[in-house]
């Protein structure tokens, strides 16, 4: 536990440069400045590590970095996506608060690999405490001569800045983030072209999640194989799981990939008041909900959660006990996507409104027998028909809640009240 992003979390002033360097921090970056690494060596180490994008998509980080046209003329950019906001997810906030230098070093290493001399860390607008921590760390890094132009008289330059959002879940989508960083509405772009070719200000750009960047320095100092061995096949390393909901000790836990869900639940103190587990959303509000029975047999890694019928996503584990009204829970999630749809694609803009309004009608006791079919039909029409993944993210909870807990919806429609809540 706590071997990578959280390795200093129990230390005093764990966010300081002093603490970070005392535990080997910036050793890889200093070697890079001395010319002791080639970009290919770093990419190979990352490929060996099995590190996959921790923001939710799970794309192999080493491969992503290799897509950057590092020898192309002109400016290139490296961007950290700290626009955390998917219900259930709160791990990047803690990385920024408690280990900001790992993000800076991870981004610096990435900048060298991709020949991108400017970086931005896009932090969600409400995260003022994490933002101030990160700004403080940046100041320390500049003062220590770790960032800037021709650092330590080397040929390596890297300038890193933080950027603040202003409240929009959609900006966590990487091309919406680019639009936002350019000072526009955060509406996703068509892909292709991909950001590696046409990104920020039209220049080659690579965007990674905070946890992905924060994992890189430790992978480089201990080796890709070390990291891979912490996890299981196809899911190298450790992962931060944000466990929230009906547990005794909700918290972020950095554990090895492949840990049985039941053990993670124990780490989180078990079920509150000894209540019975009813349902689990394993990877954040966009990922399909699972029944207790299925969840208890699942392991916490990409393949394990997929086999159980859901996705690892950002590792945001939402625990619901038997007192939870699934109609209410889904209505709350549907409201989220309705509120956060950027309005660009018709199926999502209109569909998320339909989903919310039909669910609200059921909650108001005015549901109709055909509403379940209507919800299914609307989510099917959103799924796969939008520019970005927000549409799918809105559809997946609906399909999975209705599939796994259909009787609760039927009961609510028939009786005009919840089957579980009094």
């Amino acid at each position: 536990m706590n071997e990578v992003c959280f390795k200093n979390i129990d230390k005093d002033q764990c966010w300081s440069l002093e603490t970070y360097e005392a535990s080997g921090g910036y050793s890889t970056w200093r070697k890079i400045l001395k010319g002791e690494y080639t970009p290919d060596e770093i990419i190979n180490e990352l490929k060996t590590s099995g590190l996959r994008g921790r923001g939710g998509a799970g794309f192999p980080t080493g491969l992503k970095w290799s897509f950057m046209p590092r020898n192309a003329q002109g400016q290139k950019y490296v961007i950290c996506n700290s626009d955390e906001g998917e219900p259930g997810t709160c791990k990047d906030r803690d990385i920024l608060r408690f280990n900001p230098h790992s993000v800076i070093e991870g981004m610096a290493i990435g900048s060298f690999v991709m020949n991108a001399t400017i970086g931005y860390n896009y932090i969600r607008g409400e995260f003022m405490e994490p933002f101030n921590r990160f700004e403080g760390a940046l100041k320390e890094a500049y003062a220590a001569g770790l960032l800037g132009k021709n650092i330590n008289a080397s040929e390596v330059s890297f300038d890193l800045y933080s950027h603040l959002g202003a409240g929009a879940y959609i900006v966590g989508e990487e091309t919406a983030l680019l639009e936002s960083l350019e000072g526009k509405k955060g509406q996703p772009r068509f892909k292709p072209p991909f950001p590696a070719n046409v990104g920020l200000y039209g220049k080659p750009t690579t965007i990674n999640n905070t946890e992905s960047f924060a994992s890189v320095p430790e992978i480089m100092s201990k080796g890709g194989q070390w990291f891979a061995d912490l996890g299981v096949e196809n899911s190298g390393g450790t992962k931060l799981f944000s466990v929230s909901g009906h547990v005794n000790n909700p918290a972020n836990f950095e554990v090895s990939m492949g840990m049985p869900f039941s053990e993670l639940l124990e780490l989180a103190g078990g079920m509150r008041n000894g209540a019975k587990l009813k349902a689990v959303i394993p990877g954040g509000s966009s990922t399909p909900v699972l029944t207790a029975e299925v969840a208890m047999g699942m392991t916490m890694d990409y393949d394990g959660i997929e086999k159980a019928g859901s996705m690892l996503g950002a590792g945001s584990v939402i625990i619901m006990d038997e007192s939870t009204c699934m109609v209410k829970a889904l209505t709350r999630l549907a409201h989220f996507y309705y509120d956060e749809s950027c309005g660009q694609c018709t199926p999502c803009r209109e569909g998320t409104g339909w989903l919310y309004r039909v669910l609200k009608r059921i909650m108001d006791g005015k549901g109709k027998a055909e509403d379940i079919d209507l919800l299914m039909s609307v989510q099917e029409k959103i799924m796969g028909n939008t520019i970005c993944a927000l549409g799918d993210a809105a559809a997946m909870p609906v399909e999975s809640f209705l599939r796994n807990f259909r009787e609760e919806f039927e009961y609510y429609i028939e009786h005009g009240k919840s089957m579980v809540e009094k």
């Binding site: 259930g88 709160c90 405490e129 509405k185 909700p250 625990i319 619901m320 409201h335 956060e340």
Partner: protein
Amino acid sequence: MIISDSAKKQIDIWIEKYPQGKQSSAVMEALKLVQAENDNQLTSEAIQAVADYLDMPGIAAAEVATFYENYNHKPVGKHIIRFCHNISCMLNGADDLITHLETKLGVKTGEVTKDGLISVKKVECLGACVGAPMFQIDDQYYEHLTADKIDDIVDGLK
């Protein structure tokens, strides 16, 4: 409308972060800074003033000001309580606590107290789910809320 010198100074710090000619990247912070100096609210004159300062079309700044959540276009209180009501907070009793807060302040979410001190908003996930239930007041997060804790925090607002 004129942007104050101190706001301009801070906007300039943000402009410096972006490449030359890309100063419109600073629009989100510029709008926040101007909003903070004008009763937490953005008028169309204020939005135009930001656009002029950043040498961008007024409509482009207005699009940003209306797309993102954290800009206010109607009067709000001196302090804004942003109460998360999404799933992790809901599972931890946020709905009852929101009702408690509304009763205490004598307002509904979306309204401002009569003395103009406090606005209450129901908001989507603020990314502190393991600290649920939680709310944000101005720039500060408050986690693991209870009715008593809320009373103490709110009573301390001036």
